[in-house]
């Protein structure tokens, strides 16, 4: 695809700290301009690692990255430190799960917003302040002028997440990376933030990569969903296809084990076992040890993503 804003090709990430872990093993995906892609997976599946690798946030000393990340024609993995600073925050920015930890506690929300603006654009202090205030209003923070001078701890969880979104979007990035932005929030606030993200995405036309483990939240916001397992994408396709006719046994198991109203009174369908240890990934398909349809070749041969009319999946024995 030539109109892709972001292309990730055969990305491998290995951590070589005290313990070794193969966090990503051969990740391939594309994000078109104006598209919302959700990375869905359980803990340890590599969804957050993907986002951090896109911004090159991992310490280079003990991280081994192989593969290619092409953003808007540029190879991100070969950028020099100065260029990477222009790329981070200006072209691609990120919102985190815990907004309380992502803000600097000793500066006001307004100071942090204007700092970002003035670092990336030629603006004087008053112009930056006007832009920052405008941004706070666009993320629907009531009494924006008052909040502008507030410290992060003075805001509630939902308000801090809105401020975090304002901080990420103030320089009008082309791509927003959202790492479980609603997981730490209450249900009534979660839906507010999801709707706000959807609205801002439509308004600005930016692309979004949204990371979550909650299928419900994924369905609310995304155009396409990529299901991740043990550092690989096992199935990717339109949100409606993933939810209604999944082909990979892991996606099917994940959907079946989600508690719904209809389940009441009967045992839940479960996936047996637990996710694999990333230090010792099994040979072949990493899902094979938990898979009911696994055959001999699943234990030795790694299936590649194959596309069909609805979704692309990596499985030797898909089932419709």
């Amino acid at each position: 695809m030539s109109n892709a804003l972001l292309q990730v090709k055969d990305l491998h990430v290995q951590f070589n700290g005290q313990r070794k872990a193969q966090a990503l093993s051969g990740l391939n995906f594309e994000v078109a301009a104006g598209e919302v892609l959700t990375l869905l997976g359980e803990s340890g599946s590599g969804k957050s690692v993907t986002l951090r690798t896109l911004l090159r946030l991992h310490p280079e000393k003990n991280t081994l990255i192989k593969g290619e990340i092409i953003f808007d024609g540029q190879d991100i993995l070969s950028l020099n430190p100065k260029a990477i600073n222009q790329y981070r925050g200006r072209k691609v920015s990120m919102i985190f799960q815990e907004p309380g930890l992502a803000f600097d506690p000793v500066y006001t929300i307004g100071q942090q917003l204007t700092e970002v603006l003035r670092a990336h654009e030629q603006l004087d202090a008053s112009a930056a302040q006007i832009r920052a205030l405008d941004m706070l209003e666009r993320v629907q923070i009531p009494q924006a002028r008052k909040r502008f001078n507030a410290y992060p701890h003075e805001l509630s969880g939902g308000m801090r997440q809105r401020a975090m979104i304002a901080l990420a979007l103030v320089c009008k990035p082309q791509l927003l990376l959202a790492d479980e932005p609603t997981t730490a929030l209450d249900a009534s606030v979660q839906i507010q933030i999801l709707l706000l993200l959807r609205e801002l995405q439509k308004e600005t036309g930016m692309s979004v990569i949204f990371v979550t483990h909650d299928i419900g939240a994924a369905v609310e916001v995304s155009d396409r969903i990529a299901v991740m397992y043990a550092g690989r994408i096992v199935e990717i396709g339109k949100a409606v296809d993933i939810v209604s006719k999944p082909l990979h046994p892991y996606t099917q198991g994940l959907l079946a084990s989600t508690v719904r109203h209809e389940n009441r009174g009967s045992p839940l369908v479960t996936i047996t076992g637990s996710p694999p240890n990333l230090a010792h990934l099994p040979k072949g398909c990493s899902f094979a040890p938990r898979c009911l349809r696994a055959q001999v070749n699943c234990l030795s041969e790694q299936p590649e993503l194959a596309s069909t009319d609805s979704t692309s999946f990596a499985c030797w024995y898909p089932n419709s």
Binding site: E42, S43, S156, G157, G158, M159, D186, A187, S188, V189, Q190, I191, Q192, L194, L195, H213, D214, I215, G216, A217, V219, E220, A239, V240, V243, G253, L254, S257, T258, V259, R260, H261, N263, R264, P267, L268, V269, T270, I271, T272, S274, P275
Partner: protein, 347 residues
């Protein structure tokens, strides 16, 4: 109107019968003082649990739902007496808890066990899981050999083969396995009531389903009663027979699970239910059901605590606290709302 204060007189003769609720909680209250600085004025309190009354029937599951800070976990800790209530009474199967002529606290705690959200923090890192599971009963006077034999059979029951797992330490297990250990440990006392405080919240979806199935099996095997605390309405709907909705330390609605999920009478419950994302891309949520965040529980306003977020607020809500009262003729469905009389939607 039935007031929140009124209590059913308990017939102690009925003790042990199936009709007797296993636990009755009356007017439980806990205020935490807030200290904000050297020169701070006194008199600020977090109203964590404010006049909460309920009962749990034998062999049933009572689900407690609410957003963070609504007092769910404090209620659980007050019941287990991990913290002492400011006021309030508890009756366990006909016996007053820790009062003259009633059941002693130590005896009560044998009958009641708790499973917490953080599976790692609730296990002793220096004990193997077999030792952890056997520790409690030995303290309560069971012989060592017997306690260990029982621990191994419990571990087997929760799906951790003793020959493979018994001598492992908590850090060698995955989150789901650790939560199974916590469940086994809770069952080692032969409890009758188990409090599950967000016990599955930290688990991945595929593991969560396994643990929920295990809990349901154990419940029917051992005639357990559960107090199931969660913020996940899907899970509460799946597990519970009755549901209690809390908001800022108070019970706002209570009733049988199907009734609450289809005919919620409190505006807050309705908002919570419509905040659940649908699984259908064609039916996306268009408008957030509630504006703003849950307010601060420090010195809450007079009147209904939900007033500032309620779409249907009336003058009376700002001055008078609503009491729990039956909804229409359904006597076991109660709601604390002045607008109670209006018919619930989607009848």
């Amino acid at each position: 109107m039935m007031s929140q204060e009124s209590t059913t007189p308990l017939n102690t003769q009925d003790r042990g019968g199936p009709a007797q609720p296993i636990l009755v909680v009356n007017n439980l209250k806990k205020y935490f003082p807030v200290r904000s600085g050297l020169f701070a004025r006194e008199g600020k309190f977090v109203h964590a649990v404010d006049n909460v009354s309920f009962s749990v029937a034998k062999g049933k599951t009572l689900g407690i739902v609410g957003e963070s800070g609504c007092g769910k976990s404090t209620t659980a800790k007050l019941i287990a007496r991990l913290i002492n209530p400011d006021s309030g009474k508890m009756v366990f199967d006909g016996d007053g808890v820790a009062e003259y002529g009633g059941i002693a606290l130590k005896e009560f705690r044998k009958n009641l066990q708790m499973v917490f959200q953080d599976s790692f923090a609730s296990l002793n890192p220096r004990l193997t899981i077999e030792q952890t599971t056997a520790y409690g009963p030995t303290v309560h006077g069971v012989s060592r050999a017997q306690a260990f034999a029982q621990a191994r059979s419990l571990l087997q029951r929760v799906g951790l083969a003793p020959e493979q797992f018994a001598t492992r330490y908590p850090h060698e297990l995955s989150g789901g396995q650790r939560q199974r250990v916590n469940i086994a440990r809770a069952l080692a006392y032969q409890p009758r009531l188990v409090i599950l405080d967000e016990a599955v919240a930290a688990l991945d979806k595929s593991v969560q389903a396994q643990v929920l199935n295990l809990l349901q099996e154990l419940k029917s095997e051992r005639q357990l009663t559960y107090l199931f605390i969660s913020h996940d309405l899907h899970v509460v709907h799946y597990m519970s027979d009755e549901v209690m909705v809390m908001y800022l330390g108070q019970v706002v609605e209570k009733g049988p699970v199907e009734r609450i999920f289809s005919h919620a009478a409190h505006p807050y419950t309705r908002a919570l239910l419509s905040a659940i994302p649908s699984m259908d891309p064609a039916k996306r949520t268009l408008k957030p059901p509630l504006e703003g965040d849950p307010p601060n529980p420090i010195n809450p306003p007079a009147g209904c605590r939900f007033q500032d977020r309620c779409p249907l607020v009336k003058d009376i809500c700002r001055s008078v606290s609503p009491m729990l009262a039956p909804v229409g003729v359904v006597y076991d469905h109660t709601v604390a709302c002045h607008l109670n009389l209006e018919p619930p939607p989607h009848e």
